[in-house]
Subunit: 269 residues, 2 copies
Amino acid sequence: MILVDGREADGIPADDRGLAYGDGVFETMRAMHGTIPLLDLHLERLQRGLAALGIVAPPSASLTGELGRAAGEVRDGVVKLIVTRGSGGRGYMPGAHQPRRVVLTGALPADLPRWREEGMHVAICTTPLDGPAALAGLKHLNRLPQVLASREFPGRADEGLMRDAQGYVVEGTRTNLFVVAGGQLVTPPAGRGVAGVMRRLVMTLAAAEGLTVREAPLRDADLGGEMFLVNAVLGVCPVAALEDAPRPIGTMTRRLQAAVDQEMERRAC
Amino acid sequence: MILVDGREADGIPADDRGLAYGDGVFETMRAMHGTIPLLDLHLERLQRGLAALGIVAPPSASLTGELGRAAGEVRDGVVKLIVTRGSGGRGYMPGAHQPRRVVLTGALPADLPRWREEGMHVAICTTPLDGPAALAGLKHLNRLPQVLASREFPGRADEGLMRDAQGYVVEGTRTNLFVVAGGQLVTPPAGRGVAGVMRRLVMTLAAAEGLTVREAPLRDADLGGEMFLVNAVLGVCPVAALEDAPRPIGTMTRRLQAAVDQEMERRAC
């Protein structure tokens, strides 16, 4: 199903600024039992992104109505929301625009059960992840670095880690990274990458379980032991191998995977 | 007029990767007397961009046919071409896609005669211009830095200069920059910004007139004297003021403006 501004449609106008400049933001959401368990966190990040770009937020009731309709149809799957600045304008400079919202549904990745159970094979990409500080943490539509990085590992890995220009590990192309070090959880600060919704949930649940969670810059040398990757669709996936070197799937990973699953079920009911 | 894959249409499919990720490239071309004088240079850069992104190039005959049709209709104006990787795929990782081409027409900027005659008022933006080396020089669809920079100067300037993370001046949000220093032309290397079609033409024409043209990094302190901005639609526009400080419109600027106009007319016949 595709909804454009609330109506079933196949496409969007060719003069949309999302196409022209990537002038917009998006959310990729897990639908479960016909609901979106993390809807509140997604909408909160969406609002932050729209505010940072100076895009007028669509009416909240329209968003929740359309996302609820999509989730009800897909039941268990993926609901994606794109909000662009809308059509037209003279060049890059935004004028007064009517923002446009697009809701799309999709299936869960076929490999998801394997990734969750056996873990993901992870490559380290050379495409750097950079960008203006004003875009830090936002899920905007300028995703060419992730597309280029994803072209580095087809057939040899399930996901790739990206580093910033200073060589610090930021995140996966579509996941946030957690490393277990000395009994603590460490995740890179969201300064360069995406402030992931599942990253936030994991941090909250870990703290609730009495675990220490730190945001700290990570170098390649810090990727030694137990690691896992998270996003809103995948939940918690262990890292089974990093660049062909097997990695242990640890108890901390399984514990947080279970905590997330439980919280998602609780929210979906 | 809008052509999508050669057919008149209003829109593009909502699952296009150009919308989802900015996964594509574009060219903004000047139409003159129903032709596109710099078509060869535009198509050459387009091919470089498609190759860098690993997007299959659309058939050359289709491109020239559709661009010719658009130029014939708009006569004197703007023809924009967008080529995206096409629809779908599982996340960022590209699969086998059918690239999509979109041709749009538009009018010349209303202020163009004033900018060419009296010069542009130019601001210096704080939004930095960065990105992976793999995207250097390409006119790709990830343009949020330019959109953000353009939000810095509405009402107080006609264009804004952008710097990279090291503080070097790269280009305008939609123009390339030339500075006249010691009787020579200096323009920043195209490493961070766009390898502009008009930039290339100006460099060629200047060399043909016996002028020395250098590519060299520029700091704010190098923006002292005569300067001009170029792009394929605007031609050569003098800088009349930089951050409210008037700048002299020099003879070198006028000389190259005339050389470009003459060459455009020659090519349009």
